[in-house]
């Protein structure tokens, strides 16, 4: 572990020395040069002072292996026998100070971006390029008492290009897209990202966020009464 920390410290320093070009683009993230080793110290410190894994609260209710942001050598997919594994950054180090959530990476990426804690590039050859943002909100009415779905283009265009979704995933036209929760859970439509990379489906309210009005509920129940027509 110490070996790992020291090698990363060396690599971080190298990255900074090389003008942020080595090992990603550390220089672009607003972290002054001197910070790199300190972050590592924080991460290792937190590891040492936390409660021991054997005595966590509600021990039996915890899913096995669900410890968040675990280091690569223990994550079950990286090979600890590979010498490179020990050199990889730990997610817990990278995420220090980011707004948290309860699922996915345990990071609220939208808030993290909005707060300027990360500054991801929009163009490969132009670190200063700004993304093309579009503020268009789509509300999708759904059956039952479940709140309607609110889809904000704005947050999505912070990350994505229009062509990422249109029209291979969504046709930009009313009534042209059949979306079901089953499909999403199985990785289609919204589920191409949500459930794989973007926040997963564990809190309905993140998308089903607009409660129905009394009038809407009445109309929806009328639509079901075909027998009366």
């Amino acid at each position: 572990m110490t070996d790992r920390a020291s090698i990363i410290a060396v690599l971080s320093a190298l990255a900074i020395a090389a003008g942020g070009a080595a090992l990603g683009t550390a220089g672009q993230v607003p972290q002054p040069a001197g910070d790199a080793p300190i972050i590592i110290a924080q991460a290792t410190g937190a590891q040492a002072t936390g409660p021991s894994a054997a005595n966590t609260f509600n021990r039996l209710m915890k899913r096995p292996g669900s410890e968040p942001n675990i280091q690569p050598s223990k994550d079950g997919i990286h090979d600890p026998a590979n010498p490179g594994t020990a050199l990889l950054q730990w997610p817990s180090e990278a995420f220090a100070g980011f707004p948290r959530t309860n699922d996915g990476n345990r990071v609220d990426w939208v808030k993290t971006l909005a707060a300027g804690l990360i500054r991801p590039w929009t163009e490969l050859e132009d670190p200063e390029a700004e993304p093309f943002l579009m503020d268009l909100t789509i509300v999708r009415q759904v059956k039952g008492s479940m709140p309607n779905v609110v889809y904000p283009h704005l947050e999505h265009t912070q990350w994505l290009d229009c062509t990422n979704c249109h029209d291979e995933i969504f046709v930009p036209e009313k009534g042209a897209n059949q979306i079901s929760m089953a499909g999403i859970l199985l990785g289609q439509k919204c589920g191409i990202c949500h459930g794989r990379v973007a926040f997963p489906i564990s809190d309905c309210r993140r998308c089903h966020s607009q409660p129905k009005t009394a009038e809407e509920l009445r109309q929806l129940s009328e639509k079901s009464s075909w027998a009366k027509q």
């Binding site: 410890e67 590979n82 990360i118």
Partner: protein, 139 residues
């Protein structure tokens, strides 16, 4: 006594159901539930070439680049293993090679940083919802 027997029977049936559902994806090691969300295992060719599979950490890259850069400009499809990447393409500056060339990010001489996965793992986004649905973690 009888109630508890019935309960264990029901549990047993559910367990069997889950096992049946998960057999199809029971390929990777059973403790991969700890993998960081969004990590992609790419093993199209690695096993056959006696290389460790590549693990692509989405989280690391999204800190540095918006999704658009790779998925629109570089042409990465939204499908694990769906880009048919091999070293020829990387040498030629396509896909990973667009950055991992010693200019924007470190180059291909750091084999061990990408080829870092356990052998014989299935290509896919690990810890994805659809994966967990087919092979529930509560098993």
């Amino acid at each position: 006594m009888r109630a508890s027997k019935r309960r264990s029977l029901a549990l047993g049936i559910m367990g069997l159901l889950f096992v049946a559902l998960s057999v199809g994806t029971w390929f990777a090691s059973s403790d991969d539930a700890a993998a960081e969300y969004g990590d992609v295992i790419i093993n199209n060719y690695s096993d056959d070439a006696a290389m460790r599979p590549v693990i692509f950490p989405h989280w690391f890259h999204r800190i540095r680049f918006r999704c658009k850069v790779c998925h629109a400009d570089l042409g990465f499809r939204f499908k694990a293993g769906g880009n048919d990447i091999n070293m020829l393409k990387i040498f030629d500056g396509e896909y990973c090679g667009a950055c991992h060339n010693g200019r924007i990010a470190w180059g291909v001489e750091n084999c061990v940083l990408c080829h870092s996965g356990k052998p014989n793992m299935k290509t896919g986004v690990h810890n994805s919802t659809s994966d967990r649905l087919v092979a529930p973690v509560g098993r």
